[in-house]
Each structure stands twice: as structure tokens, then as C-alpha cells.
């Protein structure tokens, strides 16, 4: 089967030529927890960091860098800059998240160490407009972000490449072995 390079959105030839696969792959493969350069315009820096943590907890993909989640939160933050209601929804939402975390785990949300414990907190507010706004934005913000498609093994546009008629549309080779 024709498999695809899941490390980054660059050709294999480029990788071989540079001999620096890790560096080239960096935009997508940055480790979780890497510092985020974004400067929030509507919410506080602390709230922004909590929102990024929340974003990853909603759709937890170890192979995605924090920067991918931060980009979605950045979009939400930017849209809230001149929208008092949206800004309030975000700030109140983060406050509610922290308050629930304090009540249940005696720490702010971002400081609750285990995913399972944070999940317990999220379960109590998954139907809230705040949670749904973040989740809704992530569905397109994460999975419609072309930068991450190779990580999931999705190849995107194909017509310009002649379709898959000569590129493995029917090349599955393991069915008789299972």
C-alpha cells in the first residue's frame, strides 16, 4: 500500500535533501506543553492558557502540538475582542471551570494534574454554552486545519494530482491475511 508521511506537510524529497526531518516536521510535531507565543487580545493570559488546556482535553491528540490548539483559541479570542458578550462568555466560562475545579479537586483547572480528573470536571459542564462554543470551534479548528491532515493520514485535495487512479485507490494488501 502507498502509505503517507505523517510527520509533516513537506515532501519526502525535501526531508531527504535537508537531512533534518525532525526540524522540518517541527511545526506539527512540537511537543505538548511547548510555550505559546500568542498574546491574547480579549481574555487574560492566564485564561488563554486555561482555554488551550481545555481545548486539548476536549480533543486530546498526543501527536498535536499545543500550538495547534492555541491557534483555535486565538481565533475565538480575536473574535471576542470587540464583542462584550463573547468576551464575557469566555471569561465567565473559565471562571466557572476554575470554580468547579476548586470545588472538586482543590486546584485551578489547569493545575489539576490528571486527565481523568479534569474529565470529571468537564462532564459537569459539557452542555454549557461556553463548553459547546469551544468544542464547536475545535471541530473545524482542529480537523479542518490542513496543517494537521498529514498527522491523521488524510491527503486532502486530489483532483489536482490526477485523483487516485494511479495513486493507490485500490492498493489494500492485507485483507487476505486477517
Amino acid at each position: 500500500m502507498r502509505l503517507i508521511d505523517k510527520r509533516a506537510r513537506v515532501s519526502r524529497r525535501t526531508l531527504l535533501r535537508t537531512g533534518a526531518a525532525v526540524a522540518v516536521a517541527a511545526p506539527v510535531a512540537l511537543a505538548a506543553g511547548q510555550a505559546i507565543a500568542a498574546a491574547p487580545v480579549a481574555v487574560t493570559g492566564e485564561a488563554f492558557a486555561t482555554l488551550v488546556k481545555l481545548a486539548r482535553d476536549i480533543y486530546p491528540h498526543d501527536r498535536l502540538a499545543d500550538a495547534i490548539y492555541a491557534k483555535v483559541i486565538e481565533g475565538i479570542d480575536t473574535a471576542a475582542k470587540d464583542d462584550a458578550d463573547a468576551k464575557k462568555l469566555l471569561m465567565d466560562g473559565v471562571a466557572a471551570l476554575d470554580s468547579a475545579a476548586m470545588g472538586m479537586k482543590h486546584a485551578s483547572y489547569a493545575a489539576v494534574p490528571s486527565y481523568d480528573e479534569r474529565l470529571e470536571i468537564l462532564k459537569t459542564m459539557e452542555t454549557s454554552p461556553f463548553f459547546q462554543k469551544i468544542r464547536g470551534a475545535l471541530v473545524t479548528g482542529i480537523y479542518n486545519n490542513q496543517e494537521v491532515w498529514p498527522v491523521f493520514g488524510y491527503e486532502g485535495e486530489s483532483a489536482a494530482l490526477g485523483g487516485y487512479i494511479n495513486r493507490g485507490f485500490g492498493d489494500i494488501d492485507w485483507l487476505d491475511k486477517v
Binding site: Y59, H61, E126, F152, G156, G162, G163, Y164
Partner: protein, 522 residues
Amino acid sequence: MATFDLNDATVVVVVGSGAGGGTLSNELAQKGIKVVCLEAGGRHEMEDFQNDEWGSFGQISWLDKRTTSGTWRVAKDFAGLPAWIVKAVGGSTVHWAGASLRFQEHEFKVKTVYGDIKGASLLDWPITLAEMEPYYDRAEKKMGTTRTNGIPGLPGNNNYKVLEAGAKRLGYKEVHTGRMSINSEPRDDRGSCQQIGFCFQGCKSGAKWSTLIAEIPKGEATGNLEVRPNSQVLTIEHDDAGKVTGVVYADKDGKQQRQKARVVCVAGNTIESPRLLLNSASAKFPDGLANSSGQVGKNYMRHMTASVYATFERPVHMYRGTTMAGIVQDEARNDPSRGFVGGYELETLSLGLPFMAAFLDPGGWGRDFAAAMDAYDHMAGMWIVGEDMPQESNRVTLHATEKDQHGLPVPNVHFDDHPNDVAMREHAWTQGSAIYDAVKATKTYRTPPYPSTHNMGTNRMSENARDGVVNKHGQTHDIANLFISDGSQFTTGAAENPTLTIVALAVRQADFIAEQMGKNAI
């Protein structure tokens, strides 16, 4: 290309340019009849289509305001999007996957065969399979349907091969790459399938039949057809005698125009067609046009649908190649011993990563959801499509307060599953999962219905005027020169994808209209 005057009262006005309207327009034009086809959406040619799910969704979908009610999950997850259909020249044939299946004989007479099913408003069609066969022949020929007329089947892609291997291990016999109106070899001045994928986003090679590429240009070439895009019909008008005289539509600038007509054929798909009749209510027809039976908008059907996705240890890359790449037909029969009447088809389906995130488990999140998405390239998928029970309470109505951009009431789509639908879906989910388990799926997913792509029944065909809206020719029982030309005329839905039957009915209706016009009966 022809242009006709707004005051030319000799033209046939066709509302909509999809499977029904686009086909009918061409067929009439070929017979020398002058046609003005009014299409609410814009005209996007194949080079404009996008291999980009959300981009294409924004480009071609019908996104005008609609509301939903009822217990169906679509009303919760996609409250403003009851149907996933197209607003563009070519209608939903731009988006369709190409599956072209004839109805089975018993599916034209389900009231007789199934008997009385509690809560279901079943009715026999006023036509039989035998009467439809010559028109199915003509439809398959014009559409270049594979496995008909000596046209070979398409090659199977990876998604199909998984389905086929599992289905055969399970003992299913009728397993093949489908009867598809996608060229498997060059035909009708169009090339063969390049296995691009993105069939739902508009075929960029032209291998897939659509009215946009295969009917409308031929009609236009006769000099008898004018297609006006960005022209949304708002009301149909009539005279004191109760005959329709033309339509009022909003042009591309939102300005209202009045096109006179000798005959009006409505093919706006199953939500807009009844809405147009209801919005055309007048002093003479206070309940809406052609609605003496009270049936306009009722019996809305959307097929019993669902999906099964499965992940495997090794890669599949299901998105490569045709979206609907093959079918299992063994469950399409009527066999009430399974616990329900009617049957269903299992057809491969793939979604790209963006739509998989939106539709796999709408509203889903957390570790399990992320794990499923992590396995996206190891995933195979199928769509389940089966006969659903018509119910009077499933209906399209005019919203009491919400208005659209033209100031007209928006449609509300109400739907509740019938117990037969629920039982059939459960059976299909189980069988679909078993197919994938037979080739060692690591996990299977029962995905709920998407917003409706198969919309049927809201202006149904009936022998007696009291039971439905149109007769066996799609002619309204009440108004001789008013026709319904889309899937809304379906009496019942059958298990098969509806497009081939819509096209066959349009071919048949064109013959009837020409004959009636020739006799000056209309």
C-alpha cells in the same frame, strides 16, 4: 442560447434544475417545447468545484434558514440543517454519489404487500415496476449507469475491498461495485472516473452524471431551454378558472420578476416544493395550491439511514476513490421475519477528516472520540439506506414567525422515526458491524443519520385525489397545468437511492406533458 420574454405565456416553467427539473427541462427542450428553468442557486461549473469539504459545503449547499422539530437526532445536532442538499444549477445531482438502483417490484405496492402498519400512512403507487421499466431503461442509458447497457462496473477502491471481504465472509452474495452513474469508461463526451474522491463536492473530472454537465447543456443546445440561475421562485400564480399562469421569483438582485407560463413544473426538492405550494395560497386556494387533499407537506420521508465506521490494525485510506464504491444488496428484500417490513442497502461511504469530525458522533468529544479520529486512515465506512415508513405527522410546514430573506415563512421539517425504522436501523447496524468484524475490525462505530440527503414524499402520488397531491404522471390532482417533478411525488420511499427513479419519472412526465400540450389539454 435561448432567452424568453417574461410575458411569453407559451413557455413551460420548471422550478429547479436537479435530477427532476434538470432532466425534465432537457427532455422537453429535445421535443421542441420552450422551457424556462428557474434555479434558486448559482451556476458553478466543474472547474469551480473544490476538493475541500467545508469550502464546498459553503459553495453549493442549500443554507437558507430552515427549522426542525421532532425526536430525530438531526433536530438536536443540526437544528438549522434538516437536509444536506444543493442550491446550485444541477441541484443535488452535483452532490449525489451516483448510486442508480431500480425499485423492486413490491416497493411500488407496499400497502398491499406490507398490509396495515400502525402509524404508517402507506399507500400503493398508482404505477407498477412494469410500467416504469421502459423509463428506467431510458434513464440508465442517458446516465450511463454501470452494470447496465453493457457498461462495466467501476473498479473497487480500498473502502470497497474491506466491505466486500467482510460481506463475503459473512455469506452475503449480492456484493459488487454498484450500479453507478459514473463513467467506468469514456462515454457521452465525458471521460472515465479518475478515482478522485470528493464525489459529494461536485465531480471535477465530469465522469459523474449530473444534470449540470449531462442534461442542461444538451437542452440549451436545442435553443429551446433557458436556465436562469439565482432565480428563486416565491409563489405560483393562477387565474380565476384555477389554472396556473406563471410564477413570481426573486432575481439575482433580489428584485421580484413575474414569468408567465403555460405549464408550471415544480422540482425544488421535497422541502421547497411543498413550501412553494403552501406559500402560494390564495383566496381561491386558501390551504395552498393543489392541496384539496390536505396532503401537501405530509408524509415526509428521508430513508432509514445510519452509518457504520470501523477501524483496523492496518491502513485503509477509505477516502481514496469514489465515495460510494460498492454495495451489499442481500438485505434489500422484504423479509418481515427480521422484525420489520421493507429492506435496506449497505453502501460504502467515506468522509474526509473534516466531515468525519462533524458527523462520526455529532457533539462527541473526549478520549474515545480522539482515538477514533487518530485511526482515521485505518478506517472503513458504509452508509445504510433503507425504506422508511411514511407518517402523516412527519411533514413540512410553514413556520409561524420565522421569515426568509424574501419575507416568506421558512419551512419547518418535523420528523419522528417510526418503530419499523428503529428496528430496521438496529438490524442494519448489527449486520454492518458484523461485516467489519468478519475482517477483524479493532472497533466499530454506530454513526447516527446525517442531515437528510434523500428527501421524499411531501407531494405524493396517488390513484385517488383524496389520498395525495399528484396523479401517476406527477400532474396535480387539482390543477391540470401544474406538475410536481421531483422526489416529493414519491408515494413511498423504497430501499434504493432515489435519483434514478426521479430521473425515470421526469423522462416519463416529459412524454406526458408533450402529449397533453399536443392535444391542447393543457
